[in-house]
């Protein structure tokens, strides 16, 4: 499950519209409860899309590095990465799955996607279930998780 306040959700929506029609992306900081696979998002940190594309995103490295350091210092974890789909539904693309399951990417990260394709923002959230050591994308299950919005 992904738990997020409406205020942080609105920040994601604002960032997605701000950079539209390019894809927006950012880091989610908070805590993960490993047993229940629950991410509690305390803060959304927008990161520039280094790909500057309507079809791809790449977290800008210097901002990623700074955010990772400040999260460590504050005792927060990076719990996942959110990005927008500007022209397709809120569902992971093949690229999302293959990039999101690279060796150094934490397997417990959460991957919410905000779609603006319908003209109205739709947030859905996913985890990538790597069932075996075989990292070909066929073995990776896309698991949708519920989102709980807090006031």
């Amino acid at each position: 499950m992904l738990i997020i306040t409406r205020q942080q959700w609105l920040k994601i929506v604002n960032e997605a519209w701000r950079v539209y029609p390019l894809e927006a992306c950012g880091l989610l900081l908070g805590s993960i409860d490993a047993e229940s696979s629950t991410a509690n998002v305390e803060r959304f940190v927008p990161i520039d899309n280094a790909a500057a594309s309507a079809k791809l995103y790449a977290l800008e490295g210097s901002q990623f590095s700074k955010t990772a350091l400040s999260a460590d210092r504050e005792g927060l974890e990076i719990v996942g990465v959110v990005h927008s789909h500007t022209h397709t539904r809120a569902y992971p693309s093949q690229t999302d799955v293959s990039e999101g399951t690279r060796p150094l990417v934490p397997p417990d990260w959460h991957w919410p996607i905000l779609s603006l394709a319908g003209g109205f923002p739709e947030l859905r959230s996913f985890q990538f279930d790597q069932k075996s050591d075989d990292k070909s994308s066929d073995s990776v299950g896309i698991v949708e998780e519920p989102i709980r919005f807090l006031e």
Binding site: L56, Y57, L69, E77, D96, R102, L104, P106
Partner: protein
């Protein structure tokens, strides 16, 4: 030779006694990484390929600057510098 701190991504921390920051000696980023994997051999597989180059999709920063935009593995480091290892994160 100076010793610099190296900030590890969460996935690598179990191979470094659970530490988030370790120190390693070296005068360049390349030296530091070689000394790092000499001390923590478990880090090598995710960090370096068979030729000793940094793996694709792994990014190395010195004080938040990507070494690809500096002198790559030849980038010099000294005592107060912090080397950070992070995955490249992207998608579509």
């Amino acid at each position: 030779m100076s010793s610099v701190s190296v900030r590890l991504p969460t996935v690598m921390r179990p191979q470094a006694n659970g530490e988030s920051v370790v120190s390693a000696e070296g005068e360049s980023v390349g030296d530091v990484l070689q000394n790092l994997v000499a001390e923590f051999p478990g880090l090598r597989e995710n960090l370096l390929d068979d030729e000793g180059s940094v793996r694709k999709f792994v990014n190395i920063y010195v004080n938040d600057e990507d070494i690809r935009f500096m002198e790559k593995l030849e980038t010099p480091v000294e005592g107060t510098d912090e080397v950070t290892i992070l995955p490249a994160v992207a998608g579509g």
